[in-house]
C-alpha cells in the first residue's frame, strides 16, 4: 500500500515538477497548480465511502501506474492519416484536435471558422483580456469541494484550449473538439488531462461537439474538464460523445454557467470505456436561463458508467429539462444521480427530470437516484425514474406481425435509445450513433422475408 502510494505520488508529482519548469506561465497559475496538487495529495482519489462515489469504485485507477502526459510528443497521426474517421462531415473545417489531452494546432482545421477566437490556453494567457476569464475558470473550486480528479486536472493540465464566440456571432458551423488517445511507446499507460474553456458572449450562438476516441485498444486514463460560460442571451448546443477504447477509464467534468436568458442544450452519449464517470454541473444564477440536459448510456460486458448531474436553479424564472436513458447488457453496471436544486428565492422555476433504464440481461445492475432539493414554494418540479425490461405486449405485437423475437427485441431497444438520439441536431452524429447502437445489438434491423 505504501509503495503504491509512493509510485502514484512520484508519477504525478514528477509530472508537476516538469510543468513547473515550463517558462512563461503566470505565477498565479504555478501557485494554483501547486495548491491543487497539495490538496489532491490530502484528499486522494475519491473512495466509495463518499456519498458521491458510493456506487463507483476507482481503485483500479488508483492502482494503475499511469504516466501523465504533460508535453506534446511526436504523433503518428496526421490530418490525412488516422484522424479522418473521427471527424464529422459537418466539421471538416472546424475541428480542434487533442492528442492525449494536449491541443495540437498542427492537426486542427479551423478554416471554416471566422470571427471565433480559438487559442492554446498558454497563448491565451498572454493576453490580459483572456487571462482574467481563464483564471476565474481555473481557480473555480466551488465550496472547496473539487474532487481528487478535478484537483489533479487543475494541477497537471497542459496545452488546453480557449474558445470565445464573440458578441452577436451566430455560428452556423458546429465546432468539433476531438480528443484522441494514442498509445505512448515504451511507457506505462498514459493519463491525459484535457482542459477546455469556452466562452459565449452576449447573444452568440454555437454548437460544440466534444468527442473522445482512441487510435488503438488499450489501457489509459482520460481526466477532462470542460468549462462553458454563457453571457446574456447566448444559445449553445453541446454534444459529448464518449467512445473511448474498452480498456480505458474516462473521468470528465462539464460545468456550464448560464447568464440571463442564456440557453444551454446538451446531450451526452456514453458508449465506451471500462469505467466512465461524468459530472455535469449546470448553474443558472441569472433570471430567464434555460437548459436541457439529456443523455444516453449503453453498456455491456463488465463496463461501468456513472453520471452525476447537478442542475442548480439559483434565480427565478429558469427552466430545466432532463432526460437520461440507459441500456445495460452483460454484467455491466450503470449509476445515475441527478440532483435538481431550487435555491431560496428561485420562484417560478420549472424543472423536469426523467431517468429510464432498460436491463437486457439478468446480471446487469442499475443504481439510480433522482434527487430534488427545493427551497422555494412557487415552483413546478417533477422527477421520475424507471427501471424495467421491454414490454411483453410490445414484443408480442411485433411477433404477431411475423417478426422474430430477437429482431423484435432489437427494434424495441433501438427505439428506446432513439428518443435521445433523434433529438440530436447534427446528422452525422445521429447516423454514427444509430450505427453504434445497431452494432451493439448485432443487428441491422432488416426483416427477413
Amino acid at each position: 500500500m505504501v509503495t503504491e502510494l509512493a509510485n502514484e505520488k512520484s508519477a504525478y508529482s514528477s509530472a508537476l515538477r516538469d510543468l513547473m519548469k515550463v517558462s512563461g506561465e503566470p505565477s498565479w497559475l504555478r501557485e494554483l497548480r501547486g495548491s491543487s496538487f497539495d490538496q489532491f495529495e490530502r484528499v486522494g482519489f475519491p473512495g466509495v465511502e463518499q456519498e458521491e462515489w458510493k456506487y463507483t469504485n476507482v481503485a483500479l485507477i488508483k492502482r494503475t501506474n499511469f504516466t501523465p502526459v504533460v508535453n506534446s510528443n511526436g504523433t503518428a497521426l496526421s490530418k490525412r492519416n488516422g484522424l479522418a474517421p473521427f471527424i464529422y462531415d459537418e466539421t471538416r473545417d472546424s475541428t480542434f484536435v487533442f492528442v492525449n489531452g494536449i491541443f495540437r494546432d498542427d492537426l486542427s482545421s479551423c478554416n471554416g471558422l471566422s470571427g471565433v477566437v480559438a487559442l492554446d490556453l498558454n497563448d491565451a494567457l498572454q493576453i490580459s483580456e483572456y487571462e482574467r476569464v481563464i483564471r476565474a475558470s481555473l481557480e473555480r473550486n466551488a465550496d472547496g469541494d473539487n474532487n481528487g480528479f478535478e484537483l489533479l486536472n487543475t494541477a497537471l493540465f497542459a496545452g488546453g484550449l480557449f474558445v470565445k464566440i464573440p458578441r452577436g456571432v451566430n455560428l452556423s458551423t458546429p465546432i468539433q473538439l476531438q480528443f484522441v488517445s494514442e498509445p505512448v511507446k515504451g511507457e506505462s499507460p498514459a493519463a491525459a488531462f484535457p482542459r477546455v474553456l469556452i466562452v459565449g458572449e452576449e447573444n452568440s450562438a454555437a454548437t460544440i461537439i466534444e468527442s473522445y476516441r482512441a487510435t488503438a485498444e488499450g489501457v489509459y486514463l482520460t481526466n477532462a474538464i470542460v468549462d462553458i460560460v454563457l453571457d446574456e442571451g447566448a444559445r449553445f448546443q453541446h454534444y459529448k460523445v464518449q467512445r473511448e477504447s474498452a480498456g480505458a477509464s474516462h473521468i470528465a467534468t462539464t460545468r456550464a454557467d448560464l447568464g440571463p436568458k442564456a440557453s444551454y442544450d446538451t446531450t451526452t452519449i456514453n458508449f465506451g470505456a471500462a469505467l466512465s464517470r461524468h459530472d455535469i454541473h449546470v448553474t443558472m444564477d441569472h433570471e430567464g436561463a434555460s437548459c436541457s440536459v439529456d443523455g444516453l448510456y449503453m453498456v455491456e460486458g463488465s463496463q461501468h458508467t456513472d453520471t452525476h448531474s447537478v442542475i442548480d436553479h439559483r434565480q427565478p424564472h429558469c427552466t430545466s429539462r432532463q432526460l437520461y436513458k440507459g441500456i445495460l447488457d452483460g454484467k455491466s453496471r450503470a449509476v445515475f444521480n441527478g440532483k435538481v436544486f431550487v435555491r431560496h428565492g428561485a420562484q417560478q422555476t420549472d424543472a423536469q427530470q426523467t431517468n429510464k433504464n432498460l436491463l437486457l440481461s439478468s446480471e446487469a445492475q442499475i443504481d439510480t437516484k433522482p434527487q430534488l432539493e427545493i427551497y422555494a414554494d412557487d415552483v413546478k418540479c417533477t422527477h421520475g425514474a424507471a427501471v424495467g425490461q421491454l414490454e411483453p405486449d410490445e414484443l408480442f405485437y411485433l411477433e404477431s406481425r411475423g417478426i422474430n423475437p430477437a429482431l423484435a427485441k432489437n427494434m424495441l431497444t433501438y427505439g428506446f435509445a432513439g428518443e435521445v438520439i433523434e433529438k440530436i441536431q447534427i446528422e452525422s452524429i445521429r447516423r454514427e450513433l444509430d450505427e453504434a447502437v445497431l452494432n451493439r445489438l448485432h443487428s441491422d434491423l432488416t426483416i427477413d422475408v
Binding site: 420562484q347 437516484k369 427545493i374 414554494d377 415552483v379 425514474a385
Partner: protein, 478 residues
C-alpha cells in the same frame, strides 16, 4: 391576512406534566447503567447479555450526522437519564392497583384505561416514561391465543418467543441508535398472534414521555404466525420542555407465511416552540420482515410532531410473493426537521412494494423523503411503485427527495415519481367564493393532498390525523 398567518399557533395541547413521584436512576451511560436497568427489571441472563453486546457495539459506532439532511446540536449521551418509572405497588394484577394519577393522565390524553370507559374494539398498552403501566383487554385477547403485553412481561412470561425473534430483524449492531436502544431499552409492547388467528381487535400502544430529563427507549416486537392478521396502532405525546429529549425506539415486525401486519403510527411528540427551542429528537429504527410466503407488512405513518424526525420504517421482502407497503404523511412547521422515508429490500420472487409519501413543509421547516428500493438478483418479477409528493407552504421552508433505487434483476420493474407543488391561489379562490373560510379551504386542500395515506389508517386514527393536521398548520399558510 396571509395564508401563513391564518394557520396560527394553537398551543400544543398535550404539553402538560403529570406530577407523579418517579423512580429514576442517575444520569449517564456505562456498562453499569445497562446492568442496573437489567437488574431493575429482574431480567434473565440472556437478556443482559443481549444488552451488553449491544452496548459494546454502540461504543464502536458513530452517530449518523453527515448523511441525514438534518441539523441539531451535539447530543450528550452522558447527560441523560436512561430509566424513569412512576413509583407504584409491586404488581398490578388489575387496573385498580394502578396509580389513579396515571389513569387520569391517560384519560386526559384521550386514552381511558379503566374497563368501562375503554374504546370498544381497541386494546391499549400504555407506556409512561420507561415502563408500561397498563394493558387493557388482555384476558379477552388471551382467549383467542393472542399475547399482548408489555415487553418486560413478555421477557418474563414468554422468554422462548422473545428470544427467538428479538434482534432478528434489527440486529444490535444495525445502526447507532438501534444499538443504543438495544442496550438500554426499558419497556415497550409485545404482540404475538398465533397461527391462523385473526386478531379480533386493534392493538395499540400509547407512549407518553413525562420526565424532563429522561430519554425514551422503547422496544416493540410483533410476531404474526402463519395466516395470522393484526392491526397495530401507536400514538405518542410529551410535555413541553425547553430541553431537547431523545426518543430512540426500535420496532421489529415478523410475518410468517400468509400473515399480515398493519402498523399505523400517529406521532405527535412535542415539536419545540416556534423558534425551535425544545422538542423531541425522534431517532427511530422500524423494520419488518416478511419472512414467509405471501406475507404482507404495511406501514402507515402520520408524522406531525418532534423537533427532528429520523425514521425509515422498512420491509425486508424475503418470502416469495410477499408485499411491503409504506404510506406516510410528514408535516413539518416552524423549525421542525424531518428526514424520513422507507427501505424496501426485495429478496423473494414476485415481491411487490408500494411507497406513497406526502411531505408538507411550512414555516422554516426542512422536510426530506429518503428512500431505498433495492431489488436483489434473485427477486424475479419484483415490482415497486413509488410516489413522493411535496407541498411547500411559504418561501422559507424546503422539501427534498432522495430516492435510492438499486436494481440487480432484469425481470423487475421499478417506478419512481415525485412532484412538488404549493396550494394554488385558484383552488383557494374557488373554495372561498363558495363561502368556505380561508382556513377551512386550506385544511380541505391539505387533507385532499394526504387522502391516499389517510385512507390507509383505521377509522379513529384517520379522524384524529385529519384534525391534527389542521391544528398543526394553524397560521402556516400564506
Amino acid at each position: 391576512m396571509s395564508t401563513a398567518e391564518i394557520l396560527g399557533n394553537r398551543e400544543y395541547k398535550y404539553g402538560w406534566v403529570t406530577d407523579i413521584e418517579s423512580e429514576t436512576i442517575p444520569r449517564g451511560l456505562s456498562e453499569d447503567t445497562v446492568r442496573l436497568i437489567s437488574a431493575k427489571k429482574d431480567e434473565p441472563e440472556w437478556m443482559l447479555e443481549f444488552r451488553l453486546k449491544a452496548y459494546r457495539n454502540w461504543l464502536t459506532m458513530k452517530e449518523p450526522r453527515k448523511w441525514p439532511n438534518i441539523e441539531y446540536p451535539e447530543v450528550d449521551f452522558q447527560d441523560m437519564i436512561y430509566y424513569s418509572a412512576p413509583k407504584q405497588k409491586a404488581t398490578k394484577a388489575s387496573l385498580d392497583e394502578v396509580d389513579p394519577e396515571l389513569l387520569r393522565t391517560f384519560e386526559k390524553l384521550g386514552i381511558p384505561l379503566s374497563e368501562q370507559k375503554q374504546l370498544a374494539g381497541v386494546a391499549v398498552d400504555a407506556v409512561f416514561d420507561s415502563v408500561s403501566v397498563a394493558t387493557t383487554y388482555k384476558e379477552k385477547l388471551r382467549k383467542v391465543g393472542v399475547i399482548f403485553c408489555s415487553f418486560s412481561e413478555a421477557v418474563r412470561e414468554h422468554p422462548e418467543i422473545v428470544r427467538k425473534y428479538l434482534g432478528s430483524v434489527v440486529p444490535t449492531n444495525d445502526n447507532f441508535y438501534a444499538a443504543l436502544n438495544s442496550a438500554v431499552f426499558s419497556d415497550g409492547s409485545f404482540c404475538f398472534i398465533p397461527k391462523g388467528v385473526r386478531c379480533p381487535m386493534e392493538l395499540s400502544t400509547y407512549f407518553r414521555i413525562n420526565n424532563s430529563e429522561s430519554g425514551q427507549f422503547e422496544r416493540t416486537l410483533i410476531v404474526a404466525e402463519e395466516s395470522a392478521y393484526v392491526s397495530y396502532l401507536e400514538g405518542c405525546t410529551a410535555p413541553k420542555f425547553d430541553r431537547n429529549q431523545l426518543h430512540a425506539a426500535v420496532v421489529e415486525l415478523v410475518a410468517l407465511d400468509d400473515a399480515e401486519i398493519k402498523y399505523s403510527t400517529v406521532q405527535n411528540w412535542y415539536a419545540g416552540d416556534e423558534d425551535g427551542k425544545g422538542g423531541i429528537y425522534n431517532f427511530v429504527t422500524k423494520r419488518g420482515k416478511c419472512a414467509g410466503r405471501n406475507s404482507k407488512i404495511s406501514w402507515t405513518q402520520v408524522e406531525t410532531g418532534s423537533a427532528i424526525t429520523w425514521k425509515y420504517p422498512s420491509c425486508i421482502l424475503l418470502g416469495d410473493n410477499s408485499i411491503g407497503e409504506f404510506y406516510s404523511v410528514a408535516l413539518t412547521n416552524h423549525a421542525q426537521e424531518a428526514d424520513t422515508g422507507t427501505k424496501m429490500i426485495h429478496l423473494g420472487k414476485n415481491t411487490r412494494s408500494t411507497i406513497v409519501s406526502k411531505g408538507i413543509a411550512a414555516g422554516r421547516a426542512n422536510n426530506s423523503y429518503r428512500g431505498l428500493v433495492k431489488i436483489m438478483p434473485k427477486a424475479e418479477n419484483a415490482r415497486n411503485y413509488t410516489q413522493c409528493d411535496s407541498m411547500l407552504i411559504g418561501s422559507n421552508c424546503s422539501a427534498n427527495t432522495f430516492p435510492y433505487i438499486e436494481v440487480m434483476n432484469n425481470t423487475s420493474r421499478v417506478e419512481h415519481e415525485a412532484s412538488t407543488s404549493k396550494i394554488s391561489e385558484e383552488q383557494l379562490f374557488y373554495l372561498m367564493q363558495r363561502g368556505i373560510s380561508q382556513e377551512d379551504a386550506v385544511s380541505l386542500i391539505i387533507n385532499g393532498f394526504c387522502k391516499d395515506v389517510f385512507l390507509q389508517l383505521p377509522m379513529e386514527f384517520a379522524v384524529e390525523a385529519t384534525r391534527l393536521l389542521g391544528l398543526k398548520l394553524e397560521g402556516a399558510v400564506g
